[in-house]
């Protein structure tokens, strides 16, 4: 492949310098307030893209459910940090919610016992029966409790409201929740071929979104929650530019820390082992490496980063709207960032995130302009009447372009703009 130049360092510098010029052009042409907003969002995407690049680039795991982890992170962070809802705390709601958690733990315990009953000499038939009973009973108990609880809470107080904790704490919880979900998914799928992981992550993402959209009692459903608290003084207190710049610095610090840690991990024995597993699973297994366990580790780590990045992104937009989580924006766009930037290369992921996000944001007015022009000239020259939803179809054009980019990059430049640099030890 000709994309591997003689001097990779020069390539890094050249590409990042070009990116800097691009950002500068946008600063000059669009104004500072807008550009800082774009940079903050690009930085959050950068953290998410780093999460993906360690899954895909370090370990070869195919995760198509990034949206789900972003949504889970954002929702849990929202619940932690949003101010308390006094109506809820004065009603019978907390009691019901507490009881739900107790039941949840009891059911998990029962399921665990049934699953491990073979250790205490229970035969396979009986074990299967026990598992079936445990699943059925826990489902009935939990779903019945949830129906009652959601009705009660919605009647008494609309929704639960948050806990009013500091935002940084909320972000950590976002990572923890995303990691727990990843543990479940990974535990089930990582022993099998990567296709299964893709299917399962796709499914879990749709389900998380469906759940958040319908769980009015927990997250206010589609009624949205705003304003989300900021870790820095929010624009309501001061002017936009200052507040956004402060947020940008928080995001930049987080991105930098993540990058440095991941860079260290990549060059450590752990990172070397990961690449060994990615490149030759059998050989790594024969060397005594626990392939599934290492994969689970990296899958969870990646999803934690996605959860944190997602929480940061949604806090910044200051409105939590479960319908706003889209496969296109929150899964496939990130895939384009990672494979275009160069999978397995952390700098590539960051470059890809910022570059692709700028192109993405800039392409929106361009696509609308293009479609507007087509509609106008089509009407003038050909007498063609554009359909009423013509402008909304401009979005579909972008779906097509994202798909085309994925297939073309895979075929023509599978290593991306900044290829992975194999470290020699």
């Amino acid at each position: 492949m000709s994309s591997q130049t003689q001097n990779p360092i020069m390539r890094d510098i050249a590409l990042f310098a070009a990116l800097g010029v691009l950002v500068l052009v946008i600063f000059v042409s669009q104004g500072a307030v807008y550009s800082v907003r774009m940079l903050v969002e690009a930085g959050c995407y950068g953290i998410i893209a780093l999460g993906l690049t360690i899954q895909w680039g370090y370990a070869g795991l195919f995760n198509v459910g990034i949206m789900g982890f972003i949504a889970a992170g954002a929702a849990s962070s929202m619940l932690m940090t949003f101010p308390r809802n006094p109506d809820f705390w004065n009603s019978g709601g907390p009691e019901l919610a507490g009881l739900f958690i107790v039941k949840l733990i009891a059911c998990a315990l029962a399921l665990w016992l049934a699953n491990n009953s073979n250790r205490w000499g229970v035969g396979p038939r009986l074990r299967a029966l026990l598992i079936t009973i445990a699943i059925a009973v826990s489902y009935l108990v939990l779903s019945f409790h949830m129906t009652v609880m959601s009705e009660e809470i919605e009647k008494a107080s609309g929704w639960m409201g948050g806990l009013g904790l500091p935002v940084f704490f909320g972000w950590i919880i976002a990572g923890v929740i995303a990691g727990i979900i990843a543990w479940f998914v990974g535990k089930i799928c990582l022993g099998l071929r990567s296709d299964y992981l893709a299917i399962a992550t796709l499914g879990i993402a749709q389900i998380i979104k469906h759940f958040l959209k319908n769980a009015d009692w927990l997250t206010n459903g589609t009624l949205t929650v705003s304003p989300m608290p900021w870790p820095v003084p929010s624009p309501a207190d001061g002017e936009f530019l200052f507040a956004r710049a402060a947020y940008l610095s928080v995001v930049a610090v987080a991105l930098l820390i993540t990058y440095l840690l991941l860079q260290r991990a990549y060059h450590s024995p752990w990172g070397r082992m990961m690449r060994a597993i990615r490149d030759n699973e059998e050989a790594a297994g024969a060397m005594g490496k626990n392939v599934n366990r290492r994969r689970l580790e990296i899958f969870i780590l990646g999803c934690v980063l996605m959860g944190i990045g997602g929480a940061m992104l949604i806090h910044f937009t200051s409105i939590y709207d479960p319908s706003g989580f889209l496969d296109l924006n929150h899964t496939f766009l990130i895939w384009v960032m990672v494979i275009l930037g160069g999978s397995g290369n952390n700098r590539g992921a960051i470059f890809g995130a910022i570059f692709v996000y700028i192109v993405w944001v800039m392409s929106e007015p361009l696509a609308v302009m293009l479609f507007d022009a087509i509609a106008t000239y089509g009407n003038q020259w050909l007498g063609w009447e554009a359909p009423s939803d013509f402008l909304s179809r401009a979005l579909q054009m972008r779906v097509f372009v994202i798909g085309l980019t994925i297939t073309l990059v895979l075929r023509l430049a599978p290593q991306g703009l900044l290829p992975e640099r194999q470290a020699r030890h």
């Binding site: 699943i135 779903s143 089930i188 399962a200 972008r398 994202i402 798909g403 994925i406």
Partner: protein
Amino acid sequence: MNDLVFFLNKGITSGLIIGSIYALGAIGLTLIFGILRFAHFAHGDLMTLGAFVTLILAAALAALGVTLPLPLAFVVMFPAMAITAVLAIGLDKMFYKPLRQAGARPVVLVMASVGVTLMLQGVIRLFAGVRSRDMFVEAPKEIYRIPIPGATRNLVVTEPQILLMLFTVVAVIALHFFLTRARLGKAMRAVSDNPDLARITGINTEHVVWATWIIGGSLACAAGTMLSMDVTLKPDLSFNILLPIFAATIVGGIGQPYGAIAGGFLVGFCETLAVFNWSIVLRPFKDELWFDLPSNMSLVPTEYKLMVPFLILIIVLIYRPTGIFKGRVL
């Protein structure tokens, strides 16, 4: 008796219908998975594409003033199946074959199919918008109401539902004979079982790949058309239809067409019966029950319908990753 008829209408009929649609989709998916060895994520949009081809043909015929005893959409479905099969082969040539020849890992092919699904989605919605469309361009669909003795309610079956069930039966039988009797069908099974051995024995893998896409593409078109004839043509189904079909494929065992059929019906019935309101069936026994009958007693609320195939998928992956028909774990 009325309650039983309600159960037949809402539980059994819709389970059969959605089950056959999933089965038709899953057959193609399982063959692609077994022979080309990757999870084809673009299958859901291939179904939508097929349905759109049918719709265009039907609308063109209706504009010419053609009337037939059967619904136009059903008749033009057969040429549409051929067109979709050609399109599927074209997609393979353009996007999957180069990767296969470059010796890419299977997961790269999965990713390419995600790219293809986005492109199909984009093209379909770019030209057709996102609103639902009616497949019955010439006349509204016929609905048969069959009176049942002893009940005031009728058993309701629509014309497309009957056609769908007939088509599924014929397609399954034809597929069975193709796979067990025809040379190419046997070759497909051989490649699915052991590609290297099949190549050594002189099987033309190229033909097998074509046959896979022809069967997969045409059945996807049929499934998409039937689904949109039963309700409406929704251009934004893609991932929502993909998940149950994947579940059906994996439940049935990968590379097992019969398993895919069984899995399709299993997932279809689980889905309909899980969202079915059981309190209506239990109403006649109201007095003998030990609890008060709630007005709505479905196992899963309708808005969480998607959870059913996912849970089936998860349970199968945990306890029996080979599926019920002992497919492979790739």
